[in-house]
C-alpha cells in the first residue's frame, strides 16, 4: 500500500504541473510572513495537486483509471522471498479402518528470513472415493512468522488438524485423498504442487479405507415355549468400526420364506440387543403348535450383513388340561407338624393328546411363607390320574394355620396355572416323640451321663489347678 501511495503522489505532482501551466516562481517572503513562508508554499502546491486530481477524476474518469493502471507497481518483498513449502506428514498405515484414529499433520518449511516471512494459512482438503476435494477444517491452521524451528538451515514446523480424528463419517469406502491448500495472504498454493519422495511426507496422501462388518453372536431360540411365555431373541453384536448399527430381526413363517415380521433396533458400536415377544407381539394364541425361523440383518451405513436362517422358536401346542379335586389328607388327625400330609390333585387330558405336566406344591404359614414342598412330573393322558405330593411341615410351623397351592406347568381348563386352598391349624405340639418313647428314655439317661461327666471333668480340672498352685507355692 505504501508504494502505491507514493506512486500516486508522483502522479499528482505531474498532473499538478500540467494543470497549472507554466510554473510561477514564488514571491520572496515578506517580513510579515516570517520564516514559515516555505511551508506555506508547499501546502499551497499540495492543495493544488489534490484539487487537480479531484477535477481530473470527475471530468475524465477513464483517463484517471488508465493513469492509475499505468502507475501501478507490483509489490516485491525485500530480499529473495520464496513461497514456503507445505506437505502432508503422516506416519500411519495407508490401509485404515473407518474407526482407526487418524493424525494428519502439515509439514511446513520456510526458507525466508524472519524479516520477510508472512503468516501462512493452512486448509486440509479431503476427497472421498470418487469425489472432489472438500475443505475439512472450518478454521485455518495459522503458522506465524516466528513459529518455525531451525535445524540444518531448514526452518520447519508442523500443524495438526484436530477436526479429523477418524473416518467414521465416510459413507463409502475406497481411496480417500488428502491435500493441503495454503496461502500467505498473497499467493495460494496446494501441497500437491510440490513433488517429494518420502515414506512419511506426501504432497497428496492417499489412504485405502476399508470397512469391517459387525460380528453377531446370538443364542438360538430353540426351546419350546408356550406362546404366553417370555420369548426373547438376544444377540450380542460387536462392530470393530464402532458404527451406529441398524439391527433388524426378521421372523419367518414355518415355510422359511414368508416374513412374518421384522423389527429394528439401533445400536451404537457394540452391545446386546433384545427383542421380546411381550414388547413386539411376535406370537399370539393362534401360533400355538407352529414352528418359526429367524435371522438378523445388520447395517453399518456401508454394508448390510445377514446371519443364517435359524429355526426357532417351536411354540408348544396349548394342551387341554383338566384339573379337578385338589385336596389334602393328613396322616394323623391331630395335624402335628411332623405328621405326613398327602396333597393330591386329579388331572387328565381333554383330548387324545398326551403331554408332560409338572405339578408343584407350595405351603404357606406365617413362619415359612409359600415354601416349595415338592413337585412331581407326570404324562397327562385322557385317562384321569392322581398326582400326589407327600410332605410334612417344619417345627416352626406349629400352632399356625396353613394354606397350600398347586402350581402347574400348563394352564388348566380355566387358564389358571395355580390353585390356592386353605388348610387347617397345625397342632401346637413341638417335640415329635412321646414321654414313653425310646428317644425320651435315652434323653433322660444321657442327661444323667452329662451331669456325672461334667462333675468328673470339673473335679479333674480343679485338682490339677490346685496341684499347680501348691507347686508354685512350694517353689516360692
Amino acid at each position: 500500500m505504501r508504494y502505491r501511495l507514493l506512486a500516486l503522489m508522483l502522479l499528482m505532482l505531474v498532473i499538478s504541473a500540467y494543470a497549472e501551466g507554466p510554473t510561477v516562481s514564488p514571491p520572496p517572503p515578506t517580513p510579515s510572513e516570517g520564516g514559515g513562508g516555505g511551508s506555506s508554499h508547499k501546502q499551497t502546491d499540495m492543495e493544488k495537486i489534490i484539487k487537480a486530481l479531484e477535477q481530473g477524476k470527475k471530468q475524465n474518469p477513464k483517463r484517471f483509471e488508465y493513469l492509475q493502471t499505468l502507475l501501478w507497481k507490483e509489490y516485491t518483498p525485500p530480499g529473495e522471498y520464496e513461497l514456503p513449502a507445505v506437505l502432508i506428514y503422516y506416519k500411519g498405515n495407508k490401509t485404515v479402518r473407518r474407526s482407526d484414529s487418524l493424525e494428519i499433520q502439515a509439514y511446513v518449511t520456510n526458507e525466508n528470513k524472519i524479516e520477510i516471512r508472512r503468516p501462512l494459512y493452512l486448509y486440509l482438503e479431503m476427497a472421498e472415493p470418487g469425489g472432489d476435494f472438500k475443505q475439512v477444517n472450518s478454521q485455518p491452521q495459522i503458522v506465524q512468522v516466528n513459529e518455525y524451528y531451525s535445524s540444518d538451515d531448514v526452518n520447519y514446523t508442523f500443524r495438526s488438524f484436530p477436526e479429523i480424528t477418524d473416518l467414521r463419517s465416510l459413507n463409502h469406502v475406497g481411496n480417500v485423498r488428502f491435500r493441503i491448500r495454503y496461502t500467505d495472504g498473497q499467493y495460494k498454493r496446494y501441497s500437491s504442487n510440490w513433488t517429494v519422495s518420502s515414506r512419511e511426507i506426501f504432497p497428496v496422501l492417499e489412504l485405502n479405507v476399508i470397512n469391517n462388518p459387525p460380528v453377531v453372536n446370538y443364542t438360538n431360540v430353540t426351546y419350546k415355549p408356550r406362546y404366553s411365555d417370555p420369548i426373547e431373541y438376544v444377540a450380542e453384536i460387536t462392530d470393530p468400526d464402532g458404527d451406529t448399527l441398524n439391527v433388524t430381526l426378521h421372523i419367518l413363517e414355518g415355510d422359511n420364506r414368508t416374513e412374518r415380521k421384522n423389527v429394528t433396533q439401533e445400536l451404537r458400536g457394540s452391545g446386546t440387543v433384545r427383542f421380546r415377544n411381550s414388547e413386539y407381539g411376535f406370537f399370539g394364541k393362534d401360533d400355538a403348535g407352529k414352528t418359526f425361523h429367524y435371522y438378523y440383518t445388520l447395517g453399518d451405513g456401508i454394508n448390510v450383513t445377514s446371519t443364517n436362517i435359524t429355526a426357532g422358536p417351536e411354540i408348544r401346542p396349548t394342551p387341554k388340561l383338566l384339573v379337578e379335586n385338589p385336596r389334602m389328607v393328613a396322616e394323623d388327625e391331630n395335624y402335628y407338624w411332623w405328621g405326613r400330609y398327602n396333597f393330591s390333585i386329579d388331572v387328565k387330558s381333554q383330548d387324545e393328546n398326551s403331554f408332560p405336566l409338572t405339578v408343584y406344591l407350595y405351603t404357606n404359614t406365617a413362619s415359612n411363607p409359600w415354601k416349595l414342598r415338592g413337585s412331581k412330573t407326570v404324562t397327562v393322558t385322557p385317562e384321569r390320574q392322581t398326582v400326589s405330593v407327600e410332605t410334612s411341615f417344619d417345627a416352626s410351623d406349629n400352632n399356625q394355620t396353613f394354606s397350600y397351592r398347586f402350581s402347574f406347568s400348563e394352564p388348566d381348563q380355566n387358564g389358571r396355572t395355580s390353585i390356592d386352598l386353605n388348610g387347617r391349624q397345625i397342632n401346637p405340639r413341638i417335640i415329635s416323640y412321646s414321654i414313653l418313647s425310646p428317644a425320651s428314655f435315652l434323653n433322660a439317661l444321657l442327661i444323667l451321663v452329662i451331669f456325672l461327666s461334667s462333675g468328673v471333668i470339673l473335679e479333674r480340672c480343679s485338682n490339677r489347678r490346685r496341684k499347680t498352685e501348691k507347686g508354685n507355692q512350694g517353689g516360692d
Partner: protein, 198 residues
C-alpha cells in the same frame, strides 16, 4: 404370678441365704483367728482350713452343682421352646435336641463353676464343702441331690415333650425337687451354722 415364678424366687432366695450363711460361717472363723493374729488374709485362712473330702465326693459335688443349673434351665424351658425355634434353634424339636440343649447348659455351668474358684472365698459354689467337716451321712445327702435333680430334669423334659400341654403336677414336682436338692447341697453349711449358734 404363676407357679414357676414363685418357685424361681424361692429358689434364688434359698441360694442367696445359703451363700450368706456360708459367708457368715467363714467370717466367724476369720474373726476368731484375727483376735489371735491380724496378719492372716481371708484367702490364706481359706487355704489353711481347707480339707479334701476325696476326689469321688468332689466330683459328685461338682456334678450336683452342674445338675442344679441344668435342672433349673430345664424347668424354665417349656414355655420358651417356641421362642427358641423362632430364634433359629430348631434342633430343640429334634430327637436329641433336649440332650444337646443340656450339653450346652452343662458346658456353660462347668465353665462358670471352674471360673468361680477365682471369686471371693464365700462365692466358690463347688468348693464350699472344703471348709466344713463332713460326715459320711452328709456326703450321702449331698450325693443324693444329683438323683433329685435328675428326676426334676426328667419331669421338666416330660413337660417339654408335652408342650404346650404342660402338666402342672409335673411342673410343681420338678420345682419342689429342685428346692429340696438345693437344701441338701447346703446341708453342711446349715449344720455348721446351727452348731455354732448353740
Amino acid at each position: 404370678m404363676d407357679w414357676g415364678s414363685l418357685f424361681m424366687i424361692a429358689l434364688l432366695l434359698l441360694l442367696v441365704v445359703g451363700l450368706a450363711i456360708h459367708w457368715m460361717n467363714f467370717e466367724r472363723i476369720y474373726r476368731r483367728l484375727s483376735e489371735l493374729s491380724s496378719s492372716v488374709s481371708r484367702d490364706e485362712l481359706y487355704e489353711k482350713i481347707s480339707t479334701q473330702h476325696g476326689s469321688n465326693f468332689s466330683a459328685m459335688a461338682s456334678a450336683s452343682w452342674v445338675a442344679f443349673f441344668v435342672a433349673l434351665v430345664y424347668n424354665i424351658l417349656p414355655p420358651r421352646i417356641p421362642k427358641l425355634l423362632s430364634l433359629g434353634f430348631p434342633m430343640i424339636a429334634s430327637y436329641y435336641g433336649l440332650v444337646l440343649f443340656a450339653v450346652l447348659v452343662a458346658i456353660v455351668a462347668t465353665i462358670f463353676l471352674y471360673v468361680s474358684r477365682g471369686f471371693p472365698v464365700w462365692l466358690r459354689l463347688s468348693d464350699i464343702y472344703s471348709i466344713y467337716p463332713m460326715s459320711l451321712n452328709d456326703k450321702r445327702l449331698c450325693t443324693l441331690s444329683i438323683l433329685l435333680l435328675w428326676i426334676s430334669s426328667i419331669s421338666s423334659i416330660y413337660n417339654s415333650i408335652s408342650y404346650p400341654y404342660v402338666s402342672w403336677m409335673s411342673e410343681i414336682a420338678s420345682w419342689l425337687l429342685l428346692l429340696v436338692a438345693l437344701v441338701l447341697l447346703f446341708i453342711p453349711v446349715f449344720k455348721e451354722f446351727l452348731e455354732a449358734s448353740r
